[in-house]
Symmetry: C2
Subunit: 240 residues, 2 copies
DNA sequence: AACAGACTTGACCAACCAGTCAAGATTGTT
DNA sequence: AACAATCTTGACTGGTTGGTCAAGTCTGTT
């Protein structure tokens, strides 16, 4: 593991401090992702960041404190992508955009996704409050949006909660299980494969919620009919 | 954590040994799932299993050896479920049965799923060979089956690989992220919710691959036309 | 130049952990 | 009953880890 470079030595005191903290957080994110919280050592993080161990403790009081900051940073990035689930857009555009952006995040922030997954798998000891407040609020609001789509007959009457879990699971799988995917693929996915995977996921999900036939490749699809436009039968979940 | 009971003191020498080993493996699976390999301690496993720590080392030489046995046991169970992807059945039956069984496994073997996920996330240091041999073979054979379905026009022309990943991701999410799901749900999923989630996942996937309209609720669906029966357009992945 | 506060770091320590061991208890066999 | 093999377990150990600390260095200010 080579040091993650080091573009220090410029800027004000506060800027330099922020930059060093970011360097440490990047290294920590990677080590926590690869070894888990218990398996990660401050020494390993020190080596990846290119700083002596004692220096880490100058910026972050404890291993747990550093870990907490890593997880909080990831959650913030996730929330940013979550906003692409535009409440105003059509179902096609909203779902396609959200899935696409989450797939991109899985590609660019593999380590972060793993840390989040690991944290949740171990019972979310650090970020339980985030789950109960921010994440629950976000989830509830998107479920309400999806229910409105269903009421308007824009998509099939599926239970929104399981749809959201499906999107989370599928997109994050490409980060969390990247090693398995790359083993089966005999190498990292290339640009075309990422594009194809994203398209396939979008296609299955959109068709899966009843937006199959024509489908909006980009923006500006079926905007107009706001009642009873959904064709199919599919009596399933109980939605108002 | 209470000891996992203890129904010992019966059977032959070999049977008792096997039973104690199973008790230890169960405890280890749980502790590894909850704390990760690095965070788990032999002492914790000893307490959960109700045995003194030195006794664990009598049955399993090392922590890593015990961990390896835990992971191998999980993989075996997984392969069993994987066989429900009957190559002879129709797409509807095969997919529905496979998804249903994987969802059931996520409910009954939460800890095992987490250990597997954790192992893969950390680069599969222990079971890399399983990924390269058994898992790759299984995956290739199922991809071939799906391609045949596509060629026969039974399902939409999606890239089979991404479909398989989607099924794995979605079903295992209910085990690996059970804590997050239960937090958002304010309690464990009940029977009806598991049933609804399974139905929703089956519905989205089946419709997503073009088996939407009528759909086979149980067995014996559209068996007959073996060429060009698929209706929709959807030019997407390149399949022979 | 002199001073103060911010930063750096090698050396150190108490706590903890996987694994060992030897003495004893239990069980099957003759 | 006597013996051997298997199993049990408290006490111990060498190595590792998170965290500390004091002696320094650097940087901005007057």
């Amino acid at each position: 593991m080579p040091p993650s470079d080091g573009a220090e030595k410029t800027g004000t005191r506060a800027e330099m401090r922020e930059e060093i903290e970011r360097t440490i957080l990047d290294a920590a994110e990677r080590v926590f992702a690869e070894a888990g919280f218990g398996g990660a050592t401050m020494q390993a993080i020190a080596e990846v960041s290119g700083l002596p161990k004692a220096n880490l403790h100058y910026y972050f009081a404890s291993k747990e404190g550093l870990y907490r900051r890593v997880v909080e940073r990831i959650f913030t990035i996730w929330l940013g992508a979550a906003d692409s689930f535009e409440t105003s857009a059509s179902p096609e555009v909203a779902l396609r955009q959200y899935i696409t952006r989450k797939m991109a995040l899985s590609r660019s922030h593999r380590h972060g996704s793993k840390v989040w997954a690991s944290e949740v798998m171990h019972g979310a000891p650090i970020i339980q409050d985030y789950l109960e407040t921010t994440l629950r609020d976000w989830t509830d609001s998107r479920i309400a949006v999806i229910r409105r789509w269903i009421s308007a007959g824009q998509i099939a009457p599926i239970e929104p909660r399981w749809l959201l879990y499906m999107i989370w699971a599928t997109t994050q799988h490409y980060a969390d299980f990247a090693h398995q995917i790359e083993t089966l693929n005999q190498g990292p996915l290339d640009d075309a494969q990422w594009q194809q995977a994203t398209d396939t996921v979008c296609g299955i999900i959109l068709r899966g919620v009843g937006l199959g036939t024509a489908a909006a490749q980009t923006q500006g699809a079926s905007q107009g009919a706001s009642q009873g436009a959904f064709p199919g039968p599919l009596p399933q979940a109980g939605a108002a």
